[in-house]
């Protein structure tokens, strides 16, 4: 069965193995209806343990302040914002797949959109945790972030990109979540109608909102889905643009550039697709979904990784050119320092992982090799984390006054929190693959070769 998935003679075959509609329900719902495997429990326990370690370190942060992360003057931002931008960036692939590819009628998206959207939501949740934590006193965050009538009679500063970020990320999370819930309704109904267990039946009945599959419902549903796609498309481009404004609107050399919004959006799609590949390779293997997430799907994602990786590489080069061409001594110094200063290793990790490693995807055999794409996707994840680290740390650590120059090294608390946040993400994702269908069954059925009247199915 594994080898049937490798054929790519007809690019329109999105589900291989001669599956029927019944097979889609049976195979996708299998993990929902069976007891988790040992492998799942091991992953889950590791993720929960990491998350609990993160909670303990969060306690330490709250008791002692964010100085325990190794932050200093002038390094007010370190791995906290690096990790925030990293997770928000990963959160872009899901909406890109569910919205932009929907508008472009890319039918292959149906195999991966459910899991990619779930990844998006969990990544944005993780990013939200990180960014609330970095405020230092997270329990007071609403006080600073949200414009509400208060006793101080003050409002937030609507001219600040940090305030735009609150609205951008908040809107993005809300819209992605309701888009995802909307997409889940018909599949929840499928899970409900095949449930034998009483509790499962009640759970999925509630989650399906009592959906019956009437065509009068589908008409409204489909229009709503199209509108969500239309709304999410500019939204997904706006969110990382706004995140990049956090830097670009400031006046620091290395941050104050107009290339940041498109550069950040391309980087977000790049890292997001890498994370989708990392997760999909594991999901299709663990849950035997190779006929639904086929090699063709993976190859297309690898092409996206190659294309966006090239855009990111172009942005790196362009930044250097503009730093030289601007004639600004501060800009020139920042970029030379970025590549050859004390953080040269971080810069070259970033450049190697993001620009050089994905070049292997020019070869078809590499795009269609699971081990290669898995390793490349991990490299891209690492590289994209370092990209944000490089941007933040190298611009901050050389202040305008040399007397203020400092070095920044993340403390073990910082690394522990990073691991804890990753644990949170994987907890959510592991629970998702147990309780919800990882593949949008109704959507996959609509792109399958449909049985003909009177023929054999």
């Amino acid at each position: 069965m594994a080898t049937t998935a490798e054929s790519s003679v007809n690019p329109e075959v999105l589900v291989t193995g001669g599956k029927t509609f019944q097979d889609v329900n049976d195979e996708v719902s299998l993990p929902l209806e069976s007891f988790p495997t040992t492998r799942w429990w091991i992953c889950f326990i590791v993720a929960v343990a990491a998350f609990f370690m993160g909670l303990i370190l969060l306690g330490r942060t709250f008791m002692e302040g964010i100085g325990v992360w190794g932050l200093n003057q002038p390094m007010g931002w370190g791995t906290d914002i690096t990790t925030f931008v990293f997770w928000v960036g990963i959160g872009h692939a899901g909406t890109l797949i569910s919205a932009i590819l929907f508008l472009f009628r890319q039918k292959w998206r149906t195999g991966i959109n459910r899991a990619a959207e779930a990844m998006t939501i969990f990544a944005v949740m993780t990013a939200g945790l990180v960014v609330l934590t970095h405020t230092g006193r997270a329990w007071l965050a609403g006080f600073w972030l949200l414009p509400y009538p208060n006793q101080r009679q003050l409002w937030v500063n609507f001219r600040s990109p940090l305030e735009w970020d609150v609205f951008a990320v908040g809107t993005y999370f809300t819209i992605s979540t309701i888009f995802w819930i909307t997409g889940l309704i018909p599949d929840m109904a499928s899970a409900r109608d095949r449930a034998k267990n009483k509790f499962r039946k009640i759970f999925y009945t509630i989650a399906s909102f009592g959906w019956r599959g009437s065509n009068k419902e589908w008409v409204n549903y489909e229009q709503a889905y199209l509108i969500f796609a239309g709304l999410s498309t500019p939204l997904v481009l706006s969110v990382h643009s706004v995140v990049s404004f956090d830097f670009a609107v400031s006046q620091l050399p290395g941050w104050h550039t107009t290339i940041f919004p498109p550069y950040f959006v391309a980087g977000a799609i790049f890292s997001g697709f890498a994370m989708v590949v990392t997760l999909m390779v594991m999901v299709r293997e663990a849950f035997k979904l190779k006929n639904f997430i086929t090699m063709d799907h993976l190859e297309k994602m690898n092409k996206v990784i190659l294309a966006t990786g090239m855009i990111v590489g172009y942005a790196y080069a362009c930044e250097f050119f503009i730093a030289w061409y601007s004639g600004s001594a501060f800009e020139r110094f920042t970029f030379i320092n970025r590549a050859f200063g004390p953080y040269w290793w971080a810069y070259w990790i970033m450049a190697c992982c993001n620009v050089f490693v994905p070049q292997i995807f020019w070869f078809k055999w590499a795009r269609r090799s699971v081990p290669i794409m898995f390793v490349v996707s991990l490299y891209v994840n690492i590289g994209m984390w370092f990209e944000r680290y490089v941007i933040i740390v190298t611009s901050l650590h050389r202040d305008f006054l040399p007397s203020s120059w400092a070095q920044y090294y993340p403390s073990w608390t910082d690394w522990g929190l990073f691991t804890g946040f990753a644990g949170f993400f994987f907890c959510c994702f592991l629970l998702f693959v147990r309780f919800l269908p990882t593949i949008a069954m109704a959507e996959v059925k609509s792109v399958m070769d449909q049985p003909k009247a009177g023929g054999t199915h």
């Binding site: 499928s190 109608d193 909102f209 009437s214 549903y221 229009q223 509108i227 939204l235």
Partner: protein
């Protein structure tokens, strides 16, 4: 939900099952052109062209979205102006109090937020979801089968010509069964509306 109190022992209609979307499409077009005016189709996934075969109007969700999205735009413009110019005029970075270009990101985000939430609420409301009163007709309808339900019409109906409720011809389940069978339905039976629990 609005149809939940209709708790009569009478059957809800006659349902006929089909195995593939193409037969369903041709059958639906024939039901549309027949005397059975009250009917609906049930499918596990959206079937292209079925809304035309069924003679359904375009969904109105988009109007709700547009209205609320523009409400979001207006809210963001008005609120940022009020907060930054009227309630707490405060110079930041030498910008004017009403620094409209700096308000654009939040104007955009709030438009999308209002529009998106409105889309979801409108979709649920138009579909009468959450639907507690009417159970699914058959579990296979979310799996691999398709169905046409010829519904029992209400006893009286508003007539467009006389502008008053007029009596509707009584429902003949046997005729509906025979008609569905003639259209190629594999399995035809009378169904009742039941609640979920």
């Amino acid at each position: 939900m609005s149809s939940a109190p209709k708790k009569k022992p009478e059957d809800a209609g006659v349902v006929g099952f089909f195995d593939d979307p193409e037969t369903l499409l041709t059958a639906t077009a024939k039901v549309r052109d027949s005397n059975f005016k009250h009917f609906d189709c049930f499918t596990p996934f959206p079937v292209h062209g079925l809304e035309h075969a069924q003679g359904l109007a375009r969904s109105k969700v988009g109007y709700v979205t547009a209205t609320l999205a523009f409400t979001g735009t207006a809210t963001a413009v008005a609120f940022q102006y009020y907060a930054s110019k009227v309630s707490w005029p405060h110079i930041v970075g030498g910008k004017p109090f009403n620094s409209l270009p700096a308000f654009v990101p939040i104007i955009f985000e709030l438009s999308v937020l209002f529009g998106g939430i409105a889309t979801f609420v409108a979709m649920m409301a138009f579909n009468r979801l959450p639907n507690l009163g009417k159970k699914i007709i058959d579990p296979s309808l979310t799996n691999n089968r398709f169905a046409i339900l010829i519904e029992r019409p209400p006893e009286q109906e508003e007539d467009d010509f006389v502008k008053a409720p007029v009596a509707v011809a009584p429902f003949d389940p046997l005729a509906a069964e025979a008609f569905l069978k003639s259209l190629g339905a594999k399995d035809v039976r009378v169904v009742r509306d039941e609640g979920w629990f």
